[in-house]
């Protein structure tokens, strides 16, 4: 079995507060891996450490075959990241944003242009291509941010609550994009608050107070707790 992410005994402390407490998990290549938990459970901290944005207090992480500590620079070429907060540049156009990130990832000009065309076609943004991003509706923005995170064809993509605040129709579309990427072999780590979205993941990891509560696929978890849907699983776990 090929793993894209292997996390062992990962801990992050902010002063006296332990945000992530000795967690271990691994994610298979091409898997959609959901990180769930209440606010402050440590999901975002975990993702930021995996991206190399935060330095862990202890533990080891291996992402896309590289050690996060020693090969941080290599890893950056092979991961993508997108957060709940739309963080592309609002005053740049759709194309300018894509070009900027494509150039930073050192894509060749012709490849970059081909990809930009593909992305614009896929997102049906032909009419918006040269208009400023601030004119886009939120859902479109988030899809664009996802496409940007994928522009260099990374092996692993981290999505930190990518769909919060987005309407159900766009969410559905967003998840289609996630599936398409996963089918192309991209490993996806996603955090979410929506329990219906949790059902779309291949495997789930429930976190509470910085610890991993349980890891399993949605069906196993439902059977395990003898409930109908993920919402009830979530309640059972968080009120234990």
């Amino acid at each position: 079995m090929e793993y894209s992410i292997i996390v062992e005994h990962l801990t992050k402390k902010f002063g006296n507060f332990t945000s992530v407490d000795n967690i271990s998990f691994s994610v298979k290549k091409g898997e959609i891996f959901g990180l769930l938990g209440a606010n402050g459970a440590g999901k975002t901290t975990t993702i930021r450490m995996l991206c190399g944005l935060l330095i862990p207090t202890s533990g080891t992480m291996n992402v896309a075959g590289y050690d996060v500590f020693t090969q941080g620079k290599e890893i950056r070429k092979h991961i993508g990241y997108m957060s709940q907060k739309f963080s592309l540049y609002e005053d740049l156009s759709v194309i300018e944003n894509l070009e900027l990130f494509g150039t930073i990832y050192k894509l060749k000009r012709d490849i970059l242009h081909k990809r930009i065309l593909q992305i614009i076609a896929r997102l049906q943004m032909r009419n918006y291509a040269t208009s400023k991003v601030e004119a886009l509706p939120l859902g479109q923005k988030q899809k664009l941010a996802f496409a940007t995170a994928l522009i260099h064809k990374p092996e692993v993509v981290f999505l930190d609550e990518p769909t919060s605040g987005v309407d159900p129709l766009v969410r559905r579309d967003f998840w289609n994009m996630i599936y398409e990427s996963a089918s192309e072999g991209v490993t996806i780590v996603v955090t979410t608050h929506y329990m219906d979205e949790a059902e779309y993941c291949n495997r789930l990891c429930f976190m509470a107070n910085g610890k991993v509560e349980i890891i399993g696929n949605p069906n196993d978890l439902k059977n395990n707790y003898k409930v109908e849907n993920m919402n009830e699983v979530f309640h059972k776990i968080s009120h234990r």
Binding site: L53, F86, S87, Y89, E96, I104, K106
Partner: protein, 368 residues
């Protein structure tokens, strides 16, 4: 290099798409110079003066007549000897004394150099500079008049002596001060705001997970503002020289060197502030309180440092703006070379290197 270029282009796009801010920044130097120039330089009329006429001939009388004919001066005292000058100043009777030497007329007719001395009470700098220029104006027009009658007379030597504030501290001070303010606003303030904006919107994080180095990111962000601040500096200097007759006796190369050096100082301060702040608002307030106000009040820009309490004088030493203004003033007004300005220059260099090291170190080591 390619990513650096892409980031630089992106930054210029941000700036040019926000036309309002750009126009505001570029008009600011004009507004500042005009505002300071005209508020500090006040018109003066009927200034009380004393006259000490050693010649007492027709030309000396003509000159005195010319002085009183203008509305600028009013003779309140006619002195008999040099000793009385100090006395008159001390009693607060006069702001200026005019001394006409012996053989005034004879010297003029014989085409010999003649000298008129003006002693000005410079404890109020603004009044003193105005009196200085009025005195010179009147002398010049007097000279022109005589030249029409006699032709080819030797030009007068007007010797101006500033009393009580010998080097005429902070005359024209508003130009160097304005350059400092502009640098702080454009470089420090704008840099810290734009850097914290990226943090606020999360785009900094997007960039931070790409292979591009933090240093590249920061440098690409700062360069456009450096360019703008230099443009603004040129505007201030040009306005100062052509509109307000600011002297420019020193070398332009040295002046540029000092300005570029201070630009780096301001820049490092801006980066340092942005490292410690998460939002644009906080960055702005910190810049205002931590940089702008000290630059305005403690640098000798408006208020002479010598008149401040000892404690504040000591504090003023750590304000980079103070050293920048000293160097600028020496170069522009006194025409000082590298040897004269080495002290403020090296203090400023050390401060800049320290600040730059500190800010870059903080920036790179910090979690995003």
């Amino acid at each position: 290099m390619k990513s650096f270029r892409a980031l630089l282009i992106k930054e210029f796009r941000h700036i040019f798409r926000d036309m309002r801010t750009l126009v505001l920044i570029l008009t600011m130097p004009i507004v500042l110079v005009v505002l300071f120039g005209y508020t500090i330089k006040n018109e003066i009329s009927n200034t009380k003066i004393a006259v000490l006429d050693y010649s007492n001939d027709s030309y000396s009388k003509l000159f005195i007549e010319k002085m009183t004919a203008s509305t600028y001066f009013q003779i309140v005292k006619v002195l008999k000897s040099e000793n009385e000058i100090e006395q008159a100043f001390q009693q607060g009777l006069i702001h200026m004394a005019v001394v006409i030497p012996r053989n005034f007329e004879e010297n003029i007719i014989r085409r010999k150099q003649s000298e008129i001395q003006m002693i000005i009470d410079a404890s109020n700098i603004n009044i003193a500079t105005t009196l200085d220029s009025y005195g010179k104006q009147i002398t010049a027009s007097f000279q022109k008049e005589i030249n029409q009658q006699l032709s080819n007379i030797q030009p007068f030597d007007v010797s101006i002596k500033m009393q009580y504030n010998l080097s005429l501290e902070s005359a024209y001070m508003f130009i160097p001060g304005n350059i400092a303010l502009i640098m702080i606003i454009v470089t420090a303030l704008m840099t810290s705001i734009t850097l914290s904006r990226e943090k606020e919107t999360g785009s900094w994080r997007m960039l931070a997970i790409t292979p591009v180095r933090q240093l590249t990111m920061v440098v690409a962000k700062i360069i456009p503002y450096m360019i703008i601040s230099l443009i603004c500096t040129v505007i201030v200097i040009v306005l100062g020289i052509f509109m307000f007759k600011m002297p420019m006796h020193g070398s332009i190369a040295l002046l540029s060197l000092v300005c570029v050096l201070f630009m780096f100082t301001a820049c490092s301060l801006g980066v340092l502030i942005s490292v410690y702040t998460k939002t644009q608002q906080v960055a702005m307030i910190l810049c205002m309180l931590g940089l702008f106000l000290p630059a305005l009040l403690l640098s000798g820009f408006i208020f002479p440092i010598e008149n401040m309490p000892q404690v504040i004088q000591i504090i003023s030493h750590i304000i980079p703006t103070k050293w920048f203004i000293i160097a600028l003033k020496d170069i522009m007004i006194k025409g000082a070379g590298l040897i004269t300005v080495w002290l403020p220059l090296s203090i400023l260099s050390v401060m800049t290197l320290a600040l730059m090291g500190l800010s870059l170190n903080k920036l790179i080591s910090k979690n995003v």
